[in-house]
């Protein structure tokens, strides 16, 4: 999975959705019991692993902030029993933290008594899945990289917490919203643009990234669509040579003014960088930035 946060920003958060079979029901959190009670589940996660659960998870620790947001969007906030230091959603604030999304405190995870841990897929933190295996805590890898991953993760998380119906409607809602953004920009001139994640020299999003997908959808053309890697630091010289008409960046203050000379610069904070359930809002926001003359 590719990270679409800038390199320097540490990763995400931890949602602990732990559902201890037996204990889960007796701790007062069973207020909204999932419809299909305790039928054994087998899920295939983003790493291709088969994860077996004795029933829908009732105590979840999510180490992936975008997955935490998705659980919230599925109406499953009450199964989340811990968060990471990087979760921003207000409903997570009262939960205990387990540290970072990568290399969290295993001790804090165990203390939250999860029946499922949602973690980053891929090899970036081998210690955490290894430790969870050793402690007998089931864990599900999520890839929060691209728009398709967002939809895939929503379905996977929906199954994991017994909210398939909510997941289906969330996915349909997002797809419809993305279709309407795509339709609104169809047939119009594409704006040559770049997304700068920050840094000096500037870090830009290349092909195959979530940001590249958003740019295409919103009616832009990624000036760095031929980059050899997902993200890369590019020279100011290269930036100028590509005649970028629009620079969208999380922090305009850190942008080298020489790179953006002659271009329209729009600062968006981190609104576009989290591939979660907010993807439709992100696409609409970017479409308005690309074609400001549309008003609305």
């Amino acid at each position: 999975m590719r990270r679409s946060r800038r390199l320097l920003l540490p990763l995400l958060g931890i949602l602990v959705t732990a559902a201890l079979p037996g204990c889960g029901a007796s701790d007062g959190r069973g207020s909204s019991p999932p419809s299909e009670a305790d039928v054994e589940l087998t899920l295939t996660d983003a790493d291709g692993r088969q994860v077996r659960l004795s029933g829908p998870a009732r105590r979840v620790v999510s180490l992936v902030p975008s997955a935490t947001q998705t659980l919230g969007a599925l109406g499953a906030a009450e199964v989340v029993v811990a968060r990471t230091d990087h979760d921003t959603a207000s409903w997570t604030r009262a939960l205990p933290s387990v540290g970072g999304g990568l290399q969290p405190s295993l001790e804090a995870i165990v203390a939250a008594r999860p029946d499922l841990v949602i973690r980053f897929g891929g090899p970036q933190d081998p210690r955490t899945p290894d430790g969870l295996d050793r402690l007998g805590v089931p864990h599900l890898a999520i890839r929060p990289d691209r728009i398709a991953d967002v939809l895939e993760s929503a379905r996977l998380l929906g199954r994991a917490v017994g909210r398939e119906a909510a997941a289906d409607s969330l996915v349909r809602e997002i797809e419809a919203a993305l279709d309407s953004v795509r339709a609104s920009t169809a047939g119009r001139d594409r704006v040559r643009m770049a997304y700068v994640l920050g840094g000096d020299p500037p870090w830009v999003a290349g092909p195959g990234t979530y940001l590249d997908e958003l740019i295409e959808l919103a009616g832009g053309e990624n000036a760095f669509g031929d980059l050899g890697s997902l993200y890369a630091a590019v020279s100011v010289e290269d930036f100028i040579a590509r005649r970028v008409a629009l620079v969208v960046t999380s922090d305009a203050g850190r942008l080298d003014p020489r790179a953006a000379r002659g271009a329209r610069v729009v600062e968006v904070g981190d609104a576009l960088e989290i591939p979660g359930p907010g993807v439709a809002d992100a696409a609409r926001l970017l479409a308005r930035i690309v074609h400001p003359e549309d008003g609305s």
């Binding site: 205990p96 001790e107 090899p123």
Partner: protein, 329 residues
């Protein structure tokens, strides 16, 4: 301070540090809960925290910290250089290249032994390379050449790491950097056993070389006249200290300052007789690393600081105070 007194103090301190580390962690448990977990009763999650996470972590800290301090004391004697420390021969660089390579290639998650094995292989490669260069000129091992070769090999490995990280994906960079900073968070009973199997025999053998090391620390020629088999002692001691370091790096990454500061501190307290210096450095290093690890876990809990940050924050001022006091005395 007399040697038996310091030995007693350090033994008590080590035991106390282990007890502290089992008692306190990022999750607050009561003394009763910890005791119940140790006795095998109490809820399962508390037993996991105490028995599967805290206890092996403290024991691994003792082995790695003790091993690094002992290796540092040995290198300082053999190289007759106060700046010598366990990583001076490029061992940390070699281990880091091994670890960073498997992380960047995405192999680190395949099995829990891949990363430590790659680190160990890298460390052994560095040792082999440096030793080969240092013995190329003739039959004897020239410590000046060894030192120079170590520094140059370390610089080469640093460049290798910079290259790998600059072509690797951003997310693997983060995990590689976390590994390089060193941590005891990967501790498990299995790694404790592996570390013990390397560390304890090597430590005992090294302590057995204390008397000839005393002579070599004065000067190789003098030692030769006084009847020490200088060449054999040098090679054996260097190999043992290097293996000790490699084993530590393999299970815990690169933890700085323990191997430099602890032997100097002990030397300032009891003098440089290696019969006392070596065992006391082991005890001191073990205690110091455990205490630093507890602080690293608790101070911003549940966020875990790299233990190397604490070893430097605590070790450097402590060492400067000792150094100043020794100059005044």
């Amino acid at each position: 301070m007399s040697r038996p007194a310091l030995a007693l103090v350090l033994l008590v301190a080590l035991a106390a540090a282990i007890v502290l580390g089992v008692r306190f962690g990022p999750v607050e448990l009561t003394t009763g809960e910890v005791l119940a977990a140790l006795a095998g009763s109490g809820p399962e999650w508390q037993r996991q925290i105490v028995v599967d996470l805290r206890l092996p972590r403290m024991l691994l800290g003792a082995l790695v910290g003790g091993g690094l301090a002992l290796a540092g004391a040995t290198f300082q004697a053999l190289l007759r250089n106060p700046l010598a420390e366990p990583y001076i021969l490029g061992i940390s660089g070699g281990a880091s290249v091994g670890a960073v390579s498997v992380i960047a290639l995405g192999l680190a998650g395949a099995a829990s032994w891949v990363l430590p094995l790659a680190a160990l292989a890298g460390a052994l490669l560095a040792i082999g390379l440096v030793f080969r260069v240092a013995t190329a000129a003739g039959r004897s091992l020239d410590v000046r050449v060894l030192l120079l070769a170590g520094v140059v090999v370390a610089a080469f490995f640093t460049a290798c790491i910079a290259f790998i990280l600059s072509v690797a994906e951003a997310r693997t960079v983060q995990s590689a950097v976390l590994w390089i900073m060193g941590s005891l968070a990967g501790a498990r009973w299995q790694s404790v056993l592996v570390a013990a199997a390397y560390t304890l025999p090597a430590a005992i053998l090294l302590m057995g070389l204390a008397r000839p090391l005393n002579l070599i620390a004065i000067g190789e020629e003098t030692a030769q006249y006084l009847g020490a088999d200088v060449e054999r002692v040098k090679r054996t001691a260097l190999a043992l200290a290097a293996l000790l370091t490699a084993a530590g790096v393999a299970v815990a990454g690169v933890i700085a300052f323990v191997g430099l500061v602890v032997p100097h501190a002990i030397r300032l307290l009891v003098g440089s007789d290696h019969r006392a210096l070596l065992p006391l450095s082991f005890l001191g290093g073990a205690t110091f690393l455990i205490l630093c690890d507890i602080v690293a876990q608790v101070v911003l809990a549940p966020t875990q600081l790299p233990v190397g940050v604490i070893t430097a924050f605590v070790g450097v001022p402590l060492f400067l105070v000792l150094l100043r006091r020794s100059l005044v005395a």
